[in-house]
Symmetry: C2
């Protein structure tokens, strides 16, 4: 489903260049559950943003289902993201002016679902993540962990083809963290391809294999025994 060839990302600011990623060659097959680990600053979020077409590489290529991403127009990329992708950001990225329910319904609105169906699916996922009682509140009125669970609900409510999750349990107690990981592995069992960035070895165990990044490069990959 995704194949990168010599992917490189350089950030330029003032006259300083930061090489965030250097010749990354990874391939993710349809239906796989892959995790990415690595020290803080090693390039995990940068790689995830490129795989989700939220940013463009400095050089090298990314192909989705055989088609080179650089040939997509911005409009095509936006369409592709809305139809196929779910993304859990490291800093949640909730829309402050919308209620919790509106935040979770938003991706379903893009898919053109009727209001009653939207509401039902959004509430189901919010019940599961124990934030349904906060449906009329705004993100700034929730605790850190509650906001993270809303971000997870919003990303998975469309039952995406490909789910990219950046540290989805960082602010959660172990019980809620477990619940989020159970949801990700359930989605994967039903066919969703999942790419998970995490610092937790326990979370990485849920995946079939782990790609280790260090200073912007893939250093090792290992297969996790369980799956």
């Amino acid at each position: 489903i995704i194949k990168t060839v010599n992917l490189r990302k350089v950030y330029r600011s003032f006259n300083v260049e930061t090489v965030a990623l250097e010749s990354i060659n990874v391939e993710i097959k349809e239906g796989e559950f892959v995790s990415i680990m690595g020290p803080s600053g090693s390039g995990k979020s940068t790689l995830l943003n490129l795989l989700a077409m939220l940013d463009k590489p400095s050089s090298g290529s990314i192909a989705f289902m055989g088609t080179e991403v650089s040939t997509f127009s911005d409009r095509q990329m936006a369409q592709f993201r809305k139809r196929f992708l779910g993304f859990i950001f490291q800093n949640f990225n909730l829309i402050d002016e919308l209620t919790i329910l509106e935040n979770v319904e938003l991706p379903l609105q893009y898919l053109g679902l009727p209001k009653a169906e939207r509401r039902k699916r959004a509430m189901e996922m919010m019940e599961r993540l124990e934030v349904a009682h906060k449906k009329q509140f705004f993100p700034s009125q929730l605790s850190g962990g509650q906001q993270q669970r809303v971000a997870v609900a919003r990303a998975v409510v469309t039952n995406p083809y490909l789910l990219l999750a950046d540290e989805p349990t960082g602010n959660l107690d172990s019980a809620h963290g477990q619940e989020v990981m159970d949801i990700l592995s359930k989605l994967n069992e039903n066919g969703t391809t999942v790419i998970l960035v995490t610092h937790s070895a326990q979370n990485a165990e849920y995946s079939q294999r782990t790609i280790h990044l260090f200073d912007g490069q893939v250093v090792t990959e290992n297969i996790n025994h369980v799956n």
Copy 2:
């Protein structure tokens, strides 16, 4: 150093009342290292914000070194915070318009330290947390974990009398997480009173005792054997 009596905090929005804290009676002695644990939404950040005088209780009282906080004027509270307190927020709260170095120097500026001394102390702490190489960058140009380490540097650079830390390692890999906890326990050995909110039992082990919150109430307290 801190004593609360029947502390209660209620958030009101659109006729809905959320009781975040209910009759909290805790006492923190000078030089102690205390941790607070509890499920997401149980009132940990709310309690920490009240103890740091960043918010006002709905009822009940908080006394600092014997003086009732509600008798302080806003100006006195701001003075007290700048001189005695260090705070690590759950969502970092870095100032986007300032560089990393300026963010870390800011609390030292409030204390009126000369520029050369400020710069030296800020850089020392940034070296220790491995973010010195990012000194001219802005917060939005750093990874999640790097931003968290800058937030820790800014809170501890003044060598505060009382340090309040809300989930200071949530976005960090285990090596950086360890470094942050080592810094907190070193400060405590030198006399700083530390109150740590965390979901990690490993982090809580660094403290002398742990207060457990559930649905806004203190349910148990336990002494940690190590310290």
